[in-house]
C-alpha cells in the first residue's frame, strides 16, 4: 500500500513537467476552420494524477486568454482548484491541461518557427478559432489513448472551448463545465478586445508583427493587458482593493502613477509583457471574437442529442461575461433536453472570480463530478 502510494506520488510529481506533443506533420497538416493548413503542430501540455486502467477518469482543463498548460502546482493558474483533495481532485482524476494553438507558452503560435521560412511566423500565422483549438486538443486526447473524457472544464475562453467540445465532440465527453462564459462574443466584448489589439498595433515596435529578434511592442501589449484587467474586475473589487488611495512616494499633479489603481495596472501590464507574446494576444483575442457556437444553428438545436451532463457557473458582478449570458447557455441546454445544473455564485470579484472564488466552485465541481462519474438521477446507464 505504502509503495503504491509512493509510486503514485512520484508519478504525480513527474507528471507536472511540461510535455510536448507534435502532430500534423506535412503533408498531413491540421486543417483549420479557415481552410488554411497548420503543421507541424505542437501542443505543450501537463498532466497530474493517474489515468486509471479503464481510462475513464481523465479531465481536460481549458485555459483562458493568457493561460498556459501549467494549471496546477506552484504558480499554477488554477492551483486552488486542482490538486489532492481539491475540486479537481488529483487523487481521483487524471488532469490534463494544454496550451492552446496560437498561444506562446509552448504550443504552436505566431512566435513559433514557420517551417517554410525558418523564421517565426509573425502575422503569417493563420487565423485560428476556438474550434481549431479544440480540434488540436482532441488529437492530444487521442494520443493519450483516451476515448471519452470524464469532463471538460474551463472559465472565460476556457468555457468557450468547453462549449465547443459539447458541439464538436459530444460523444467524447461525459460532462462539461463551462464557467463565466458565453455562447457568442457580443459587440461590447469585441470592442474591448479591439482596443487592446489597437494598442499593440499602434506600438511602432510591433512592425506588422515581425518584431522577433528585435524590440518587442512592450508598451502596446502592456496597455492591452491593462484594459483587460479593468474588465476582469468589478467596481466593488477595485474600490475595495485600491480606493482612491494615492501612492506615498509619488509627486502630486504629474502624470505618474499617483493612484494605487494606476500603479497596479502598470505593474500588471509590465509584468505581462515578460511572459506573453503580443502577436499571440492578437490571434487569441481574434479567435475569441469570432466565437459564436450557434453559427447558422439556433438555440433550440445547438446541443440536441448531447448526452453529457452540464454544469454552468456564473458570478455576480461579472460584467465582462455577465450571468445572463450563462443563462443563455442554460436556456440552450434546456431546449435541447440536456441534463443541466446552473449556479450563479455570489462574488464581488467580477470576471476574475472564476480564478479566485474557488471555495464555492470547489464544492459545486467536486459534487457534480461525483455524480457525473457515478451516474445518478435514476438514470440507468
Amino acid at each position: 500500500m505504502e509503495a503504491k502510494q509512493l509510486a503514485t506520488a512520484s508519478q504525480t510529481l513527474e507528471n507536472k513537467e511540461t510535455k510536448y506533443f507534435t502532430f500534423a506533420n506535412p503533408p498531413e497538416e491540421l486543417i483549420l476552420e479557415s481552410g488554411q493548413k497548420l503543421g507541424p503542430t505542437t501542443l505543450a501540455y501537463e498532466t497530474c494524477g493517474t489515468l486509471n486502467k479503464q481510462k475513464q477518469n481523465a479531465i481536460l482543463v481549458l485555459h483562458a486568454l493568457t493561460g498556459d498548460a501549467h494549471a496546477s502546482g506552484t504558480n499554477g493558474w488554477w492551483n486552488n482548484l486542482i490538486g489532492p483533495g481539491k475540486g479537481l481532485d488529483t487523487n481521483k482524476y487524471f488532469i490534463i491541461c494544454s496550451n492552446v494553438i496560437g498561444g506562446c507558452q509552448g504550443s504552436t503560435g505566431p512566435s513559433a518557427t514557420n517551417p517554410k521560412t525558418g523564421k517565426p511566423y509573425g502575422t503569417d500565422f493563420p487565423l485560428v478559432t476556438i474550434g481549431d483549438m479544440v480540434n488540436a486538443q482532441a488529437r492530444l486526447i487521442d494520443q493519450l489513448g483516451i476515448e471519452k473524457l470524464l469532463a471538460v472544464v474551463g472559465g472565460s475562453m476556457g468555457g468557450m472551448q468547453a462549449l465547443q467540445w459539447m458541439v464538436s465532440y459530444p460523444e467524447r465527453i461525459r460532462s462539461a463545465i463551462p464557467i463565466a462564459t458565453t455562447l457568442k462574443h457580443t459587440p461590447q466584448q469585441i470592442a474591448f478586445n479591439e482596443v487592446g489589439r489597437q494598442a499593440i498595433m499602434a506600438d511602432p515596435d510591433w512592425k506588422n508583427g515581425h518584431y522577433y529578434g528585435s524590440q518587442i511592442p512592450a508598451k502596446g501589449l502592456a496597455v492591452a493587458r491593462m484594459i483587460g484587467h479593468i474588465t476582469y474586475m468589478s467596481d466593488i473589487s477595485m474600490a475595495e482593493k485600491f480606493g482612491r488611495r494615492i501612492r506615498g512616494d509619488k509627486e502630486k499633479f504629474k502624470f505618474g502613477a499617483e493612484f494605487e489603481v494606476e500603479g497596479y495596472l502598470r505593474y500588471r501590464g509590465d509584468n505581462f509583457v515578460k511572459r506573453f507574446d503580443a502577436n499571440s494576444y492578437l490571434y487569441i483575442t481574434k479567435a475569441i471574437d469570432y466565437f459564436n457556437i450557434l453559427k447558422e444553428k439556433n438555440l433550440a438545436t445547438i446541443f440536441k442529442g448531447l448526452k453529457a451532463k452540464v454544469l454552468v457557473i456564473s458570478f455576480k458582478l461579472d460584467w465582462l461575461y455577465p450571468a445572463n449570458q450563462s443563462q443563455e447557455i442554460v436556456k440552450a441546454c434546456k431546449l435541447s433536453g440536456v441534463d443541466t445544473t446552473y449556479c450563479e455564485i455570489n462574488s464581488t470579484y467580477g470576471h476574475d472570480a472564476f480564478l479566485l472564488e474557488t471555495e464555492q466552485e470547489t464544492q459545486l465541481i467536486k459534487n457534480f463530478l461525483n455524480t457525473a462519474k457515478n451516474g445518478h438521477n435514476g438514470d440507468i446507464q
Partner: protein, 200 residues
C-alpha cells in the same frame, strides 16, 4: 427559506408519482423531496431553486438544478415536457401564483401543489382570541420575516381551481403529520392537490 417537507407530505407525493416519471420541482429547496423520489421511484428529476445555498445542497445530493426565479416563467420548456411538476410549499411564496400555476400546468402533464392552510383551527384561534397574526407549526414565521406572500386556505384553493377550470384529480390533507379526512379546511395544516388542466 422553505420548511422541510413533513414526512407525510413526502409519502403522499410519492404515491401520486409513477415509477421513472420525469419530475420538475419548482422551488426544490435543498432537494430532499427529489432525492427521496429518485431513490423510491427512480424518477428523472430536475429542480429549480432561487437560493445559491440550496443549489449547493442539491448538487451535493447529485441533483440537476437551475438557479432561477420561478416568477420569470418556464418559457424554455415546451408543453407537457414533464410528467409531473411539483410546487410544494412554493405557491404561497411566489409573486405571481396564478402565473406560476398556469406555467406549471402547461409544462407538466400533472401538477402537484402543497401549501400551508392559513385558516386551520389554531390559526383561527390565534386571530380570533389572541388578536395576533398566527404562528403555527405549518406557518412558523413571524409577520416580519415570513417568506409567504399569499395566504390561502383549502377552500380558497378549491374555489380557485373551479374558477380556472383546473381539475383536482386527487387531494390529501395533513394534520400533525397524519392524513385527515374530516373538515380539512378547519383542521388540515397542509393541503396537497394533484391537478390537471380541466377537461370539458
Amino acid at each position: 427559506m422553505k420548511q422541510k417537507p413533513f414526512k407525510a407530505e413526502q409519502e403522499i407525493i410519492l404515491n401520486w408519482i409513477s415509477k421513472e416519471a420525469s419530475v420538475l420541482d419548482l422551488g426544490c429547496c435543498d432537494g430532499e423531496l427529489l432525492a427521496f423520489l429518485i431513490s423510491e421511484k427512480q424518477v428523472h428529476a430536475q429542480g429549480i431553486e432561487l437560493s445559491e445555498n440550496e443549489i449547493h445542497q442539491c448538487v451535493a445530493q447529485g441533483l440537476s438544478v437551475f438557479q432561477q426565479d420561478i416568477d420569470t416563467g418556464l418559457s424554455e420548456y415546451a408543453d407537457n415536457s414533464f410528467d409531473y411538476v411539483i410546487l410544494n410549499q412554493t405557491l404561497q411564496q411566489v409573486k405571481k401564483p396564478d402565473f406560476a400555476l398556469k406555467e406549471a400546468l402547461r409544462v407538466g402533464k400533472q401538477v402537484i401543489v402543497g401549501f400551508p392552510n392559513f385558516v386551520e383551527a389554531s390559526a383561527r384561534f390565534q386571530i380570533f382570541f389572541k388578536g395576533r397574526v398566527p404562528v403555527t407549526k405549518a406557518l412558523p414565521y413571524e409577520w416580519y420575516d415570513t417568506p409567504n406572500l399569499h395566504f390561502l386556505g383549502i377552500a380558497d384553493f378549491k374555489d380557485y381551481c373551479k374558477k380556472r377550470n383546473i381539475h383536482i384529480k386527487d387531494s390529501a390533507h395533513i394534520r400533525k403529520n397524519r392524513k385527515i379526512k374530516l373538515f380539512p379546511n378547519l383542521f388540515a395544516e397542509i393541503g396537497l392537490f394533484l391537478l390537471t388542466i380541466g377537461r370539458v
